[in-house]
């Protein structure tokens, strides 16, 4: 019988610092065993438990898209014991991984719809997965317009800068990048995500909104989506809670009777409305 | 050839006096037993009893805390505060049944290379008399296996 607590081995293929404050680092991992690679099937929005033996485990959203074969990417914010250890990993180091866990974004519902992606700060990771997945030639025709609004506090704190430049050039994807405070080299938008959303004012018709960011951003963005007449059941978000097992056994990540690890982390606002505000 | 047991002793030395004293012992080529491992701390008052307990739990056979002589503390009163902590901790450990000699204290100034060597010698002798630490030491794999490889419950 498969032991769901036993990590499978992966290797750090590439490690790169994302932001100027050096607090965010992206690890690109590749599978050590062929069969693990084959068995690993996921959709954007799912997450994994990364484990460093001797330090522990922590959950991270998968930042790469299923269309990027052979490897997985995670962007990690240095905060506690495990994340610090992950920051110290060198290329070639072995790491344990459990997953994919959670439900992921409701890709099937997105068929034939416009997609509005709103991201803030380093919560952009699983949104990157979603954008890369949807804009992949194989999938692009499955959805209509894709609009991405992405904000960070400062230009230096934006994730995936190279990709952002590439996306900007694409005609089949509308990207609006904004920062709270620009610097002298910054030529893009300056402004908070909710205000930029108001400015861009995408139509809510036939559109799903996926929003992910710090609580304060969500708090102010959500009312704007309401004024844009997005119904609750078409707004999705990905929640974070302290997790351990990742499979709905250990108890701590529940919101009401649902577990963020097993029944989430992606929830619609229609769902969240019915649950206690325990997050 | 059978190796004789040598105690492992952890020494917390205050930066301003005892550490310099140990240094002096070294530069003056005064010999002292090689059983001690030194950790330099800013002041003997900095020693959190947790440090001592953690050392003992980790299998250290003895702990030496050494600071400036009364009145000489770089921070005026750190060693006085340390003295009270030492006195109570030592008594408490003895009361519990952990040999009091495993935790020792000394005043060694920066000029007392000779005294440092003598203190270390005495501590090593005391600990040798006691033998290796048994009580309170965490066994390497303390998740002891019960019958047939089954883990013992609490």
């Amino acid at each position: 019988m498969k032991n769901p607590y036993l990590p499978i081995p992966m290797v750090v293929k590439k490690a790169s610092v994302e932001t100027t404050d050096r607090m965010l680092r992206t690890l690109e991992l590749s599978f050590l065993n062929e069969e693990d690679a084959k068995a690993f099937r996921f959709i954007p929005g799912q997450f994994c438990e990364l484990s460093i033996l001797g330090k522990g485990e922590a959950p991270f959203g998968i930042a790469s898209s299923p269309t990027e074969n052979g490897s997985l990417k995670f962007t990690i914010n240095k905060a506690g014991v495990v994340t610090t250890a992950l920051h110290h990993l060198e290329e070639g180091a072995e790491i344990g991984i459990r997953g994919p866990l959670g439900n992921g974004y409701p890709i099937d519902l997105f068929k034939g719809k416009n997609i509005l992606v709103i991201g803030g700060g380093f919560a952009f990771t699983t949104l990157r997965s979603l954008i890369v997945y949807l804009s992949h030639p194989e999938n692009r025709s499955r959805v209509k317009d894709i609009t991405v609004i992405y904000g960070a506090r400062m230009p230096g704190l934006l994730l995936y800068k190279e990709e952002l430049t590439q996306w900007e050039k694409r005609s089949d994807l509308k990207l609006v990048v904004t920062v709270d405070w620009g610097d002298k080299d910054w030529k893009g938008k300056v402004g908070l995500v909710p205000n930029v959303l108001e400015e861009v004012a995408p139509s809510s018709e036939n559109t799903y909104a996926v929003i992910c960011g710090p609580p304060i951003m969500i708090k102010f963005t959500f009312p704007k989506l309401m004024t844009l007449r997005f119904p609750n059941e078409r707004i999705y978000t990905s929640l974070e809670k302290r997790m351990k097992c990742g499979i709905g056994k250990c108890g701590r990540c529940n919101i009401g009777h649902l577990y963020v690890c097993k029944d989430g982390p992606v929830f619609s606002y229609a769902q969240l409305e019915k649950l206690p505000k325990d997050y | 050839m059978e190796k004789t047991w040598e105690p492992k002793i952890l020494a917390f030395l205050c930066n301003w006096c005892s550490y310099a004293g140990a240094d002096l012992a070294g530069t003056s080529r005064i010999q002292y037993p090689p059983n001690i491992r030194v950790i330099r701390v800013p002041c003997s008052g900095r020693i959190n009893p947790l440090f001592i307990l953690k050392a003992l739990q980790s299998g250290i056979d003895g702990v030496l805390v050494s600071g400036c002589h009364p009145g000489d503390c770089h921070y005026i009163s750190g060693n006085y505060i340390g003295r009270r902590k030492s006195a109570t901790l030592k008594r408490f450990l003895e009361y519990l049944g952990i040999e009091g000699e495993r935790v020792q204290f000394s005043w060694v100034s920066a000029a007392e290379g000779g005294k440092f060597s003598q203190v270390v010698g005495e501590v090593v002798q005391d600990i040798k008399k006691l033998g290796s630490a048994k009580r309170f030491v965490k066994k390497e794999n303390s998740r002891s296996l019960g019958v047939e490889g089954q883990e013992k419950t609490f």
Binding site: P4, L53, A79, P215, G251, R252, H257, P276 | -
Partner: protein
Amino acid sequence: MKLKLDKKDFKPFLQSLIEEYDLFAPVQLVEGVSVFKKIDHPDEVDLSTPNPQKPAKELFFPQSETMFRYEKAGKKNQMTSMEEVKRERILFGARPCDIEAISMLEKVFVGEGDTDVYFLEKRKKTTIMGLGCNHPLSTCFCSSAGGDPFLRAGSDLFFVDLGEAYFVELLTEKGMAFHKNKFFKEADPKDLTLVKEFEEKAFEKVGYAIPVEGIEKRLDLMGESSFWDRIHEKCIGCRICTYLCPTCHCFDIVDEGEHQRGQRVRNWDSCLSPLYSLETSGHNPRPTCRERTRQRLMHKFNYFPKNFGQVACVGCGRCILYCPVHFDIRQAIIWTSPKRPKRFGGGTI
């Protein structure tokens, strides 16, 4: 199949079990404190006290258990899973409340989603010999919580203390394996009457006073009720009620040991601890005792029923007996109900 075991044969019977199995039964550690422990000699077994402090869940979900050991050789990690139970085990002397709780844990660990191999392995390799509860305490309310002092469900064999002998019932396939046990004799009708008598007496004593029924629906409407503002006041946030609860099953996963070798273990955890839900960012979705107490009660009486169709409380009364500030879960249940029964219990002081 209905059998009996004479008291004079009791110890030899236990001895015969010890020879073939790992036998776990209540053992007194000091006067008044007992736990389920592995037995080396029949004399250790102590059935004189009511439920041991720690419930029998410990056998299947230990307070601390190694999930796997790891060792690093160069860059490679070697991991060895530790779920295997080498010797068949017997749990003897657990009361129906503890046994019912084990079935609840089974729903969580095995029933849905991924299978918890550590729990399953222990469950599969354990034969449960339940013991009828002749003398429920005044704090017991198993009948109100959906069980009863003589509930057979979950037991493979069921024992009832008849004074001179134990009445023994073989209930499952695992239980039937004992039907040729040399210490068991055919039970006579007189014994059956006696069992009935004991049952009736116990049923009457436990009663149905606590309005557990319908609590899930009542709590649905109480998510933000002022009820929670007061009920937590005396709680000091220790973990006694959750650790001693036979149905509580939260755990924490941590690594022990060094870089080179060590083990990943899981330890019991408690929703009453602030650290339980504290996120690395410093945000705590359940920042005060109010939210944590609500989580404990809501999980038992609302969330768990939603997921598994029954309340996560078996009415064993441990949380009432051992709470240092005398929090009474029965009273909490009563307060949710509009039909408040008159005062219960003998607390005249």
